[in-house]
């Protein structure tokens, strides 16, 4: 095996994995604040189509990304309003957000399917994804705000008693999650596979959800997890191209089974799960209780 081949494989893995990193780190922050948002796939699609349509209309990459992130903020605010203010069930609301996002993105993009655009080089975003992970890691463990956010996810009642606005902090965490999902989507429609096609994220939002668990809610491990997930797929393709016969289905199962194994390992030690999983995940916060 020569060195160029390996460099090439690494490049492909970097490009393919970046959307998982964005969506995964966004969902991680949301979950750390104690909210589970299953609408990742829907928010990614709306972000992808918004970026694409903006680019076609304005011809500006910067505006494309700005509008895409705004779309993510709007989608996640809708979710936030329902689960925080109206205290609707997080699991059901997240699923509804995905259905809504699939429909909305197809509606917006109807007349833009098959419009050719010039794709943007992915490398800035690959770098950005690493920077964001480091930023979140720093924020969580080195700043007071990060500590407060984690406290809210651990025990919203204690955080509230200490005088922190639980809802405000969760709102911000949800919005950050939405923006990152939109960024993941816009990366897909502008850099990774420059086009708009209905449902083009093809389930990556669900993998991002698995990723957060795989990473045991630790930002740095999002990178490790994402690169294992992405790497398995690309490696499988390389082996196929070398002529090895593989049962592809079993290869595709690997990330999910690996995630379950990680869950078992971290959860079986009660102390360890306490340190990683936000204790208030999916529980609504109500001041009067």
């Amino acid at each position: 095996m020569n060195i160029d081949l390996i460099i090439g494989i690494v490049q492909i893995i970097l490009i393919a994995t970046t959307p998982l990193v964005f969506a995964g780190i966004g969902e991680l922050v949301t979950e750390k604040s104690g909210v589970l948002n299953l609408g990742v796939e829907g928010m990614m699609l709306v972000g992808a189509v918004t970026a694409f349509v903006t680019l076609v209309v304005t011809n500006s990459y910067i505006l494309a990304f700005i509008f895409s992130i705004i779309s993510g903020i709007l989608m996640s605010s809708l979710f936030a309003f329902l689960v925080l203010v109206l205290m609707s069930n997080q699991v059901a609301t997240g699923l509804a957000l995905t259905i809504f996002g699939i429909g909305l993105s197809s509606m917006i993009g109807k007349n833009y399917i098959g419009t050719p655009i010039d794709g943007l080089t992915p490398w800035y975003f690959v770098i950005l994804s690493f920077l964001i992970v480091f930023f979140v890691s720093y924020f969580f463990y080195k700043t007071k705000s990060g500590l407060i956010l984690r406290a809210v996810g651990e025990s919203h009642n204690s955080a509230h008693a200490l005088g922190y606005s639980v809802l405000k902090i969760r709102l911000l965490a949800i919005i950050f999650g939405g923006s990152m999902c939109a960024l993941a989507g816009s990366y897909m429609s502008i850099c990774y596979a420059p086009m708009w096609q209905e449902g083009m994220t093809a389930g990556r939002g669900w993998i991002a959800l698995a990723l957060v668990v795989f990473a045991t809610w630790k930002p740095g491990r999002i990178l490790i997890g994402a690169y294992i997930f992405g790497g398995v797929t690309i490696l499988q393709m390389n082996l196929q191209a070398f002529g090895l016969r593989l049962p592809a289905q079993f290869f595709n199962m690997a990330p999910y089974i690996a995630t379950m194994l990680v869950l078992v390992i971290i959860s079986s030690n009660k102390l360890r799960i306490k340190l990683s999983a936000p204790a208030s995940l999916t529980l609504p916060f109500y001041k009067g209780r």
Partner: protein, 360 residues
């Protein structure tokens, strides 16, 4: 109570409206289509929709058409097909393989409605099947690839190991290896028809492993775009994709359904429709090669490709001419013969020279 009366009046108004609509359609024959994807996908469904529009433009007021898009290939399909049948459609095209049993189920209940099922093999008195000999196009792609490759490695992105895809790979390889015995074909089974990201990954992986031509049997133009970016060559799929990858796109195999749809609708209008199995190729115009890219291909090669088209059309050239051996070295088509349609329809083996095993 007043509310109820109001509601009832509105309901009656609707009824009148719907009836009025039906009347306005007059005696035009109604043709319905069931699509697996959105008509704007620039791939499989898009070409069926182009065909539908062609049919409308050919027959004018004699027909009107509607479609239901994104119909899942499960129990829902029966309802969608039946909805077309029960709302006065005279002819219904179901455009994906997995609508097969569902189409037959509805057809049994509506003996006066004509059904046409794409790429299937089960027929009835009011159910025809139709498909295109896409593999004829693969023969020409293979010939071009054999000449154009410099690394002697061609990357092939396949979707699922079904006969149509396997046929395409074999036809491509037979033609390519005829002009270039050293050619190697690297295949990635993506196990999806539709995932732009994964298709791009597969293309990049193949390019990274030395392929300088990318062939695809998946639905989006992501592989062609990836080839453009990497500066290698590619063939389009289902429709002409040159605008997405002008410096990579050699040609594409286009699915041209329009004339068939027009002919079948006309047969219904004339009352001459009968059930049959149609498997047409270049000769009938169901498979058409996109314009050959003169920027990339030498004029002589373009001429050869055009000559091959003529030969395929008049029957002097067949994609599967003997002798053909399978991977185990067994003779499957003897010298001087061509593979019969039965063998082609169920093809589930690689021909000799292709590396790797066919996923089972």
């Amino acid at each position: 109570m007043i509310k109820l009366i109001k509601l009832f009046t509105i309901f009656l108004a609707f009824l009148g409206f719907s009836l009025g609509n039906a009347y306005a359609d007059g005696h035009a024959k109604k043709v319905g289509f069931i699509y697996i994807g959105p008509p704007g996908d620039h791939g499989w469904t898009y070409m069926h929709d182009v065909g539908r529009k062609h049919m409308e433009s050919q027959l004018g007021d004699a027909v009107s058409s509607t479609y239901i898009e994104g119909v899942p290939e499960n129990a829902d399909a029966v309802r969608a097909i039946r909805k077309l049948a029960s709302s006065g459609h005279d002819l219904i095209f179901t455009t994906s393989f997995n609508y097969m049993d569902q189409t037959l189920e509805v057809a049994k209940e509506f003996p006066n409605v004509k059904f046409e099922h794409a790429t299937g093999y089960k027929r009835a008195d009011n159910v025809s099947t139709y498909s295109a000999r896409f593999y004829e196009g693969r023969t020409i792609s293979g010939h071009i690839a054999g000449h154009m490759t410099k690394t002697n490695i061609v990357g092939y992105i396949a979707s699922f190991p079904i006969p149509e895809v396997v046929r395409g790979i074999n036809a491509f390889y037979l033609a390519a290896s005829k002009v270039n015995p050293d050619i190697k074909i690297k295949i990635i089974w993506a196990f999806t028809w539709y995932d732009p990201g994964k298709e791009a990954d597969a293309a990049n992986t193949l390019i990274n492993q030395g392929a300088d031509i990318i062939v695809q049997h998946t639905d989006t133009f992501a592989p062609c775009q990836a080839a453009e970016k990497a500066g290698v060559l590619a063939f389009g799929q289902a429709s002409n994709q040159e605008e997405f990858c002008p410096n990579a796109h050699l040609t594409a195999i286009e699915d041209i359904w329009g004339p068939y749809y027009a002919a079948r609708a006309k047969a219904v209008v004339d009352g001459t429709w009968e059930s049959k199995d149609t498997w047409e190729g270049m000769a009938e115009g169901m498979v058409v090669m996109s314009p050959y890219n003169a920027k990339l291909m030498p004029a002589s090669l373009i001429q050869e490709a055009i000559n091959m088209e003529v030969a395929i059309k008049d029957g002097t050239l067949h994609s599967f001419e003997g002798p053909i051996y399978n991977q185990a070295g067994e003779l499957v088509v003897p010298e001087g013969e061509v593979a019969d349609d039965g063998m082609l329809a169920g093809m589930s083996f690689y021909v000799q020279g292709i590396d790797g095993d066919l996923p089972q």
